[in-house]
Symmetry: C2
Subunit: 342 residues, 2 copies
DNA sequence: ATGGCGATCGAAATCGCTTTCGTCAACTGA
DNA sequence: TCAGTTGACGAAAGCGATTTCGATCGCCAT
């Protein structure tokens, strides 16, 4: 009963399987998809033929016929940022529950690439797209043309009718700032500002929340406390922190716009022999898995990443299946996770 | 069972475009793929029609016809492990140079899932597969049947004729251990052993390198210094370190089988008020981006991740394009990266 | 016996694109 | 001027699966 290992040079088709089983491709299809009744005995013969011939269905043909590909696209800036790899991982797990595979595209946060994604020029062998833009902004609505079955993540850059799941950036940033203020800090800096992106981007919104809270307390917003970091990578956090430390009057606390920046900041602090929160308090944003294990463990904002992943995929699913009404605008709940760094 | 409403595929076809431009699909195809000469004037008309109709090519049809899908699969245990997200990111960049998209599958290091990957049961709309197995091992060769165009990463689990790019696990582990020994440490522990996996897995090979070096110096291999960690996640590193610290005679140095485990270990150390390398030295394996920025920065083994990504994709490309000879067996160079943790 | 009705399964028509084969006209060389 | 090339493009045959018609076979009630 040991099957001879044979690599089919020329692909074997459903008709081939059918021929060997003494039926037509129609029946093979029914057996494989379970879409219609087949006599148990026939089913058995077909499955045996499949086994013996090492048959594998040609998904291109199936997709052409059915109009469904079984995969969705996920376009994110950079897998190298903890938040995005975490998000991608969760989205892939959710997608699997819908029987979808996920093809990931890294945009590198480049406007060119993001436009290419929307234009479908890169790859559109998919049933839908989950897209976290970064360099696009209001005014780019026209590039949405032809993109139904699209869910936008993160920045609510478009006013157009698109499904969107986002987070309460401003509120959450205010929450983080308030926490710092409540702990008695007055000289509070931020790392992660980016003047290049739109006013509705996470960078701008989080800066808004920070500013609002400071103004509410009658505190000044010092230019030298708002450090620009366009990439939100580890190194940017490290250099940003170094920049703050070189100030004549360094801050008492730093709000990093994502955890990755915070880890970079923590690194620089430690390298200078300083400690968080004793010398300078650090708070992050994202609550990535590493946040629980950093040295010191990072106090941060949890944006509900799991919720985002689930909502995004479910939303896309209902859109694909046509049982979606008006474009949805979902917002996850953010919460503060207090650990040791602040 | 009629009355089932199918989603209207209001797709524009090449023929539609052709009609509007006054040519046939043949010419539209030529314009779009640039595979044959087309009069500039005609080309212009076609492109205009494409624009006006918002035409997007149906990639399923193209794939069915050409036999190429333009995507490759990447099966890895877990995107949540820094090494794999780093590797995936690099592979995606390499793949793009070949015009490939990448669909990622997380196996969760589960044998069931890994077998499903090889059987093609999950998804096989791809021109090839890059696969890092974890739970498979020698004896599973038969599951390779029908998988040409496959590149195995990491553990050399198969003896069968498959392309493989790996690293010098044993040598590198010996290198790490030797470094610790040369620094004067004698009581050296490891975190990351896994008795469940095959003897050619990274876990076993790295343990071999460690053991060999100890034996060479006439040192004993203590069972209580070999801590099992089947997942290689942050938490496993943390609990592993806690386990070592609770020993009557804790080690002076710990070799973690990957960086993620090392970060977990560093966390536990810090939480107990201990420091690396002063109290206990820590060395990792992988040299992930975070290693440079951890507290303290991690001394680790660089397995040449970029090289692995490039070699894997190039190898797959040559296999797909048929210009591949015998199965290749590639090995990247590992190197020690000395930072502060050891 | 006859007609009706499921349960099965065959024949053949797509799905949208690429590509071979051929046609027609314009262009070349002698 | 004419056969031979070459360039540009139409007609039509697939690629391999799904799926709409039917056709066939039992089996049961009329």
């Amino acid at each position: 009963m040991r099957g001879v290992v044979r690599t089919p040079m020329t692909s074997v088709t459903m008709a081939d399987v059918g021929e060997r089983a003494g039926v037509t491709a129609r029946t093979v299809s029914n057996v494989l998809s379970g879409s219609a009744a087949v006599r148990p005995e026939t089913r058995e013969r077909v499955l045996r033929a499949v086994e013996e011939l090492g048959y594998r269905m040609n998904t291109s043909a199936r997709s052409l016929r059915t109009g469904r590909t079984g995969t969705i696209g996920l376009a994110i800036p950079d897998l190298g940022i903890d938040y995005f790899s975490d998000l991608a991982s969760r989205i892939m797990i959710e997608a699997e529950r819908h029987g979808w595979g996920v093809v990931i595209e890294q945009t590198g946060a480049r406007r060119e690439t993001e436009l290419a994604i929307l234009s479908g020029a890169r790859r559109q062998h998919s049933d839908g797209l989950i897209f976290q833009p970064h360099a696009l902004g209001p005014g780019d609505e026209r590039h949405l043309a032809g993109n139904d079955r699209l869910v936008i993540l993160g920045d609510r850059i478009f006013n157009g009718p698109v499904d969107h799941v986002g987070m309460a950036n401003t509120e959450a940033a205010a929450m983080a700032t308030r926490y710092l203020l409540d702990r008695g800090h007055r000289r509070i800096a931020v790392i992660g500002s980016n003047p290049d992106v739109s006013t509705v981007s996470a960078a701008s919104l989080r800066l808004d929340g920070y500013s609002r809270e400071l103004v509410d307390r009658g505190l000044p917003i010092r230019d030298d406390y708002v450090v620009v970091a366009k990439q939100w990578h580890l190194r940017d956090g490290a250099t940003g922190m170094a920049q703050l430390l070189s100030l004549p009057e360094p801050p008492e606390a730093v709000f990093c716009f994502n955890d990755t920046l915070a880890f970079g900041a923590l690194h620089t602090l430690a390298a200078r022999g300083l400690r968080a929160p004793d010398d300078i308090a650090i708070i992050g944003f994202d609550n990535v898995p590493m946040a629980e294990f950093s040295v010191p463990p990072l106090t941060t904002i949890d944006p509900g990443t799991g919720q985002i992943a689930k909502q995004a995929v479910d939303l896309l699913a209902s859109r694909v299946e046509g049982r979606a009404a008006a474009p949805a605008e979902l917002m996850t709940d953010c919460s503060l996770v207090v650990r040791r760094s602040a």
